[in-house]
Symmetry: C2
Subunit: 227 residues, 2 copies
Amino acid sequence: MIRLEKLNKSYPMADAPVHVLRDLDLFVAEGEYAAIMGSSGSGKSTLLNVLGLLDRYDSGSYTLGDTLIRDVSEREAARLRNQYIGFVFQSFHLLPFKTATENVALPLYYAGVPRRRRNELALQMLERVGLRERADHLPNQLSGGQKQRVAIARALVTKPRLVLADEPTGALDSQTSNDIMDLLASVNADGMTVLVVTHEHDVAAKMRRVIHLVDGRIASDRIQVPS
Amino acid sequence: MIRLEKLNKSYPMADAPVHVLRDLDLFVAEGEYAAIMGSSGSGKSTLLNVLGLLDRYDSGSYTLGDTLIRDVSEREAARLRNQYIGFVFQSFHLLPFKTATENVALPLYYAGVPRRRRNELALQMLERVGLRERADHLPNQLSGGQKQRVAIARALVTKPRLVLADEPTGALDSQTSNDIMDLLASVNADGMTVLVVTHEHDVAAKMRRVIHLVDGRIASDRIQVPS
Ligand SMILES: Nc1ncnc2c1ncn2[C@@H]1O[C@H](COP(=O)(O)OP(=O)(O)OP(=O)(O)O)[C@@H](O)[C@H]1O
Ligand SMILES: Nc1ncnc2c1ncn2[C@@H]1O[C@H](COP(=O)(O)OP(=O)(O)OP(=O)(O)O)[C@@H](O)[C@H]1O
Ligand SMILES: [Mg+2]
Ligand SMILES: [Mg+2]
């Protein structure tokens, strides 16, 4: 599903480039469920953005399924994302003037699903994240954790083959967080490949594999028994 | 420092108002250090926004120091906030076209501190949150946890009398989170009253008092030995 070889990425800055991902090698098989951990600034979101075709890399290679991702046009990247990937952003990125339902339904709209059906699927997904009663609220009428759950629902509504979640429980209390982790475990049981960036140890403990990033390198990559 | 009596707050919505804070009674003495916990949507950010003079309430009373907060004009609220309160927002609210240093220095600018001095204080505070090397980065050139730490630095730079922090470690790994909690403990030791909304039990464990919100009411309010 995912193969990274000697991947490097830097951000240009006025005084000196910031070398964020350094010679990264990573192989993720279809259907896996892995946690990516690392301290603040270690490169987790950057890695996820590269994997999610939201940002380019400088050297090495990234192969997604059978497709080598190199010099992909914005149009082609958008097509691949819509087809393959569900992304939960660390800062949610909900459309401010659309309701929770409309935000969740958006990927279905891009996939050409007719209006009544996409509304129905969006409401079901909101139900699954415990937000049926907030269906008509705008993002600024939602709490932090509710926005996060709308972002999760949106990422899952098209049943994508690859789910990339950047700290999906960061704004959630432990009960709600458990519910979300159960939801992610169930989509993984349905066959979706799930990568979760998290800094919470009890979230990572539920996953079969834990990858640690330190200063943009993979410092450890272990299989464990999920708790 | 803070006295709430029978405080109520609702948000108007098209079909029915959302009654978020219900008959809240709360007394916080000067110099206290308390955690506010509760599930997603229970009213924590709403409570903090009322305490921070960022939002109004409907009935009951809120007294801050010697001042009854009722029908306060926007101008007067801004004056009180700048004078008294440091606020860490759940979604950071950094100015996008200002550097980390400029963002942290902003409250000092409002307080009339001359430019060289406020730059110096801002850099010291960035140092204390581990971000000296990111001083010239814009918010979109910072990781999620780095933005959070800039927001914390900004809240503390004027040594306010009251610090209101809405999930200040939500985006941080455990080591960085410990560093921030040490920083908050030290500003509390300097005499600042600190209220921290958190959903993390190990963060709440470090505080002398833990207040639990359930559906907008205070369900429990206990003193404990900090761990
Ligand atoms: N502007 C608004 N209009 C209508 N409802 C709102 C508005 N802002 C918040 N709410 C609702 O009020 C309730 C409390 O929101 P609040 O942000 O205080 O929760 P919270 O405890 O901070 O949650 P979280 O832990 O998810 O951040 C939520 O159910 C939310 O949907
Ligand atoms: N556009 C950018 N320009 C310059 N530097 C950047 C940019 N975006 C991120 N960085 C830097 O790259 C490093 C990695 O950022 P990244 O967002 O990947 O970290 P992270 O592991 O997700 O951290 P966190 O846990 O705080 O979210 C950080 O030190 C950050 O300052
Ligand atoms: Mg990140
Ligand atoms: Mg909140």
